[in-house]
């Protein structure tokens, strides 16, 4: 509650719901709330022989408009873990930063590398606490001492451990490519190609995904390769000629000049008008 309203109690740490009352009041007066920036996205990941490959497109949308043509959807979480995020962009960013801090504290406390299942459990418990109001759909991938792991987390707190997965609005095209191409114990080059194909399917078939393909390849012993712009599939073309017209291409025949004065009420009054022909211009 506001400062003067409740001097008897300290406000609780964490989220403040003060603005919800204001929003309800404004909505009642007909004010439309701004649209959240979402990552209408294609993200996918596969487990291969030596580790995991995560991939994402780079378009973020706010309603029908593209808000960012080249955003980063693959977030660093730990030296051996990366996270691909779909859903509300701000929620994804903040949630992954939160998990990253949490895992670092955990690592300092225990003195050993944090397993991927720990990250999964921390995220799951946090998202369940907020009952899906934090709109993050994540794919957490990493390699720890137990091997390569891939977890898929939904906004309400449900998780799955999978060998390959896709999330976001481009799930269907990406998943169809993954289902057709995934085999156990893929080689690194094949895995990268498969993820690139799946994301490209999402980019070209889904309205909410677009621009480039980003990849992260994670192998054992913190061997991480972040390939930003691995495949720039949608670069703007370069114009090969000048398509402008030379000055004087369109002949001007007559010219009408009107002298006006601004009147007190909105509008203007014409004082004088003059029509005269124009001499032919030299084309330079």
């Amino acid at each position: 509650m506001a400062a003067i309203a409740a001097p008897l109690e300290m406000p609780v740490n964490g989220f403040s719901f003060e603005n919800c009352k204001r929003n309800a009041f404004l909505a009642g007066n007909g004010f439309k709330a701004p649209k959240m920036t979402k990552t209408g996205t294609t993200i996918c990941a596969v487990v291969f022989k030596d580790g995991v490959v995560l991939g994402a497109d780079t378009r973020s949308t706010g309603g029908d408009m593209v808000a960012d043509k080249n955003c980063e959807k693959l977030h660093y979480v730990a030296p051996n873990m990366y996270c691909a995020g779909a859903g509300t962009a701000a929620d994804c960013d903040k949630t992954t930063k939160n998990i990253s801090s949490q895992l670092e504290l955990h690592r300092l406390n225990t003195g050993r590398q944090v397993p991927v299942c720990a990250a999964n459990r921390i995220v799951k418990q946090m998202l369940f606490r907020y009952q899906g109001y934090i709109g993050t759909y994540l794919i957490i991938g990493g390699v720890d001492k137990y091997g390569p792991h891939l977890y898929e987390v939904a906004a309400h707190g449900s998780t799955s451990k999978l060998p390959f997965c896709a999330m976001g609005s481009g799930t269907l095209p990406a998943m169809s490519v993954l289902e057709g191409g995934w085999k156990k114990d893929l080689e690194e080059a094949d895995a990268k190609q498969l993820v690139r194909d799946a994301i490209a399917a999402g980019i070209f078939n889904d309205m909410g995904s677009g621009s480039n393909v980003d990849l992260v390849v994670i192998k054992a012993n913190d061997n991480v390769q972040y390939l930003r712009g691995y495949d720039k599939a949608n670069e703007k073309g370069v114009r090969r000629q000048k398509y402008t017209y030379a000055k004087g291409t369109t002949a001007i025949l007559t010219e009408k000049v009107r002298n006006i004065t601004l009147s007190e009420r909105s509008g203007f009054t014409v004082v004088s008008e003059d029509v005269r022909p124009v001499e032919v211009m030299e084309t330079s």
């Binding site: 409740a6 008897l8 609780v12 964490g14 719901f17 919800c20 406390n109």
Partner: protein
């Protein structure tokens, strides 16, 4: 209260709000929150601790949770209130495990980040005195 305090008590949208917490509006707001998570978030830590203590009581008997709660109470009585100083209670954090976790509770809504004074120290001390 003198007139100065009345003039300062302007709340949302320019309307004067005096003693809003105990007025009809305040009570209605508390009963029907504007966001479904308001009640759940306000009671989150309390509910979680109660559920954990209940589970411990069923599995280990009354002694173990009683000892834990006594430790927490003893440690929380040391130190100043957060409206007076921003130094936290380290032993309480260690017992609760919050020194090893970081969440939205530690980033958002911190008393030291508020622009105005949200709770009068007098009221906080009075509340504490009643319990102590």
């Amino acid at each position: 209260m003198d007139r100065q305090a009345f003039e300062d008590a302007e709340g949302h949208f320019g309307r004067p709000e005096i003693l809003v917490a105990n007025s009809v509006h305040g009570k209605l707001d508390a009963l029907h929150p504007y966001h479904p998570l308001e009640k759940s978030e306000a009671n989150f830590h309390k509910n979680r601790d109660e559920a954990e203590m209940d589970m411990l009581r069923r599995t280990f008997g009354i002694g173990f949770p009683l000892k834990l709660q006594m430790e927490r109470k003893a440690v929380s009585q040391v130190g100043h209130l957060s409206c007076i100083t921003t130094a936290t209670k380290p032993s309480l954090d260690a017992l609760l495990g919050t020194d090893a976790t970081i969440g939205f509770d530690d980033i958002l809504g911190k008393p030291e980040n508020f622009e105005n004074m949200t709770a009068l120290p007098f009221n906080m001390i009075e509340k504490q005195m009643k319990l102590m």
